[in-house]
Amino acid sequence: MKFKHESIEINAGLLIALTMVVISIGGLVEIVPLYFIKDTVEQVDGVRPYTPLELRGRDIYQREGCYLCHSQMIRPFRDEQLRYGHYSLAAESQYDHPFQWGSKRTGPDLARVGEKYSNEWHVAHLIDPRAVVPESIMPGYPWLMQPLDYADVADRMRALKFAGVPYSENQQEFDANVEKFGPDVANELNILRAESNLVQQAQSANYDGDRAKLTEMDALVAYLQMLGTLVDFSKYDEGYFAEFR
C-alpha cells in the first residue's frame, strides 16, 4: 500500500500516537545515552541515601513547595562558585527521587546550605523569616512545630528501595551496605530499624531546640543541615571532577 498523508490526517488516534513518538525523540536522545556513559555519575566518597529523619524532612520540603522558590543545583560558573560553593555533582543527587535541582530562584540556591547556619537560625527563620532577615519575602511556616507523623517512614523507605535506593531489609542487603557505606551508615539505612533510628537522631541532635517534642521542624532542619555536606571536596584536586566531563 502506498503511504499517504491522508491516512494519518484522517485518523486522530494514529496522529496523536505518531506525534508523541516524534516529540519524544528529542528527549530520548538527550537522556538515554546518559545511562550508558560511564562518566555521568562521578566517582566520589561519602554520598549516601537519606536517614529516616532526613527523608521525612525532604518529604516536608516537597509538601511545602520550597522547591518553587529554591533550586538545589549550583552550576559551574564563577559567580555561583563564589556565592554558593563547589558546583553540584551528579553523584550528589543519585539517591534523589525526584531530584530537587529546580530552575526557579526566588530565594538562594540551597544545594550547600547544610552547616552554613545554626539550627536555631533555621528554626527562627522558618517560623518567621522576617524575624531574622527583615527584608525577606519568604513565607513563614509556623505550623512546622507540629508533631511529626513518622508511622509510615518504613513504607516510604520501601517505596524508594523499589526505585533503586539501597535501603536494606534483610541481612544480605545490610551486609552489602556495611561493605559500601560502613557500619554506621548501614545501620541508618536499615528499614527494620527506621522508627527507632528516626527518634534517636531527632533526640540526640535536637534540631528544633525542644528535646521533649519530635516535630516536623526536627525533620526539615535535619534535612537542610545535611544538604551538600556529604562530599569532602578537600580530598579531591581542582581538576578531578572535570575528568568526568
Binding site: 498523508h5 491522508e6 490526517e9 545515552p33 550508558f36 556513559i37 560511564k38 562518566d39 552550576r75 559551574p76 560558573f77 564563577r78 562558585q81 563564589l82 556565592r83 560553593g85 558546583y87 552547616e115 552554613k116 547556619y117 545554626s118 539550627n119 536555631e120 537560625w121 527562627a124 527563620h125 524575624a131 531574622v132 532577615v133 527583615p134 527584608e135 578537600s234 584536586d237 581542582e238 581538576g239 571532577f241 572535570a242 575528568e243 568526568f244 566531563r245
Partner: protein
C-alpha cells in the same frame, strides 16, 4: 473571493485531498530564504558535532576536535576537551576578574592586619569584596549592617565584644566558630534569688535598685550559690575566654533591657535570661571560606565595630 480561489487552484498544485466536498489544501513550494536557512542549520549542526562533544559511542562519546582547554592543577598542566567544568577552572585561574582579584589577594595574603588597615587602596578592595562576602554568609544572622537581632545574634557594629575585638580574636571567632553558653538557673536558684540577682545585675550598669536586694544579689553573684563570677568575673565585666557578656556597660545582647521603661520590666527580662540560660552558636567558616576571605572579613568586622 471565489475568483482568486479558482485562479490559484489553476496555478498551484493541491495535495489532492478534498474535505467536506470542496475544502482543499495547497501544496506551495517553500520560500527560498526559508529553505536556504534550513540547509544552513544542517551545515551548522555538522560543524557543531565536529567541534563539541556530541555523539554517544558505547560507554563514552565523541569529544569533538580542536577544542582543548588547558589549565594548571597542582603546578602540572592538564588538558581536557571542551566542557563547562574545565571552562570554570580556566575562568577561575585566568579570567579577567580572576586576575584582577588575584593581584589584590596576593597583596592581602602577604600583608599583616596593621598594613592592610593602614593602606587606603587595600581597604577599598576589602570593602568591595566583603560587601558580597558578608551579604552571602553573615547577613542572614547578623543583619545587612551587622546590627544583629537582640537575643539571637550579637551586634557586630558596636564596640562591645563577647569574644574580644582584636583582629586575632575576630579571626578565631570567624574561622573556628563560637558557642555562647550559660547554664539555666531555673533549678539552682529559687524565684526570690532570681529576682535579687537580676536586680544586682542591673545595678552593675548603673541602675538604681533597693539596697537590701542588692546585698543578697551580690552574695549570689560573687558567691558559690550563684557562681556567676566564674564567667562574668566578680566585677561583672565578663571573661572573654568564656564569651561571657560584660554586664557593666549597659549594652545588652540577650536580655532586651532597652525595650523596657520601668525597673520591674527590666528586671523581668534579665530574670528570664538567667532562668533559661543561653546556648547560641556561631558557625565555623574555615571549611567554607578560604584563609584570605576570612582575613578580609576580619578586617571588615574589625572596622565595623571600631575594633580593639
Amino acid at each position: 473571493m471565489s475568483e482568486t480561489k479558482t485562479k490559484q487552484q489553476g496555478a498551484v498544485q493541491t495535495t489532492g485531498h478534498a474535505w467536506d466536498g470542496d475544502i482543499q489544501e495547497f501544496n506551495n513550494p517553500l520560500p527560498r530564504w526559508w529553505l536556504w536557512s534550513f540547509y544552513a542549520t544542517v551545515v551548522f549542526s555538522v560543524l557543531y558535532w565536529v567541534i563539541y562533544p556530541a555523539w554517544p559511542v558505547g560507554k563514552g562519546y565523541t569529544t569533538g576536535w580542536f577544542n582543548d582547554i588547558t589549565y594548571t592543577v597542582n603546578g602540572e598542566e592538564r588538558s581536557r576537551h571542551w566542557n563547562t567544568r574545565s571552562l570554570l577552572i580556566k575562568d577561575m585561574q585566568e579570567g579577567k576578574e580572576a586576575l584582577l582579584t588575584q593581584e589584590y589577594m596576593q597583596k592581602v595574603e602577604a600583608a599583616d592586619y596593621q598594613q592592610i588597615l593602614a593602606d587606603p587602596d587595600m581597604m577599598t578592595f576589602v570593602r568591595s569584596v566583603t560587601k558580597g562576602l558578608f551579604g552571602d554568609n553573615c547577613a542572614a544572622c547578623h543583619g545587612a549592617g551587622g546590627a544583629g537581632v537582640i537575643g539571637l545574634f550579637p551586634n557586630l557594629a558596636d564596640d562591645d565584644w563577647l569574644w574580644g575585638g582584636s583582629v586575632e580574636d575576630i579571626q578565631n571567632t570567624i574561622a573556628l566558630g563560637r558557642n555562647g553558653y550559660m547554664p539555666a538557673f531555673a533549678r539552682t536558684l529559687n524565684e526570690e534569688q532570681l529576682d535579687d540577682v537580676s536586680l544586682y545585675v542591673l545595678s552593675l550598669s548603673g541602675h538604681e535598685v533597693p539596697a537590701d536586694k542588692l546585698m543578697r544579689g551580690k552574695q549570689l553573684f560573687t558567691g558559690e550559690a550563684g557562681g556567676c563570677y566564674y564567667c562574668h568575673t566578680a566585677q561583672g565585666t565578663g571573661l572573654k575566654s568564656q564569651g561571657a557578656a560584660n554586664l557593666t556597660d549597659n549594652i545588652w545582647t540577650i536580655a532586651d533591657v532597652p525595650s523596657q521603661a520601668e525597673l520591674a520590666g527590666k528586671a523581668a527580662v534579665v530574670k528570664e535570661v538567667i532562668r533559661n540560660g543561653v546556648n547560641r552558636v556561631m558557625p565555623a567558616w574555615e571549611n567554607r571560606l578560604d584563609e584570605n576571605q576570612i582575613k578580609l572579613l576580619t578586617v571588615y568586622v574589625h572596622e565595623l565595630g571600631g575594633g580593639q
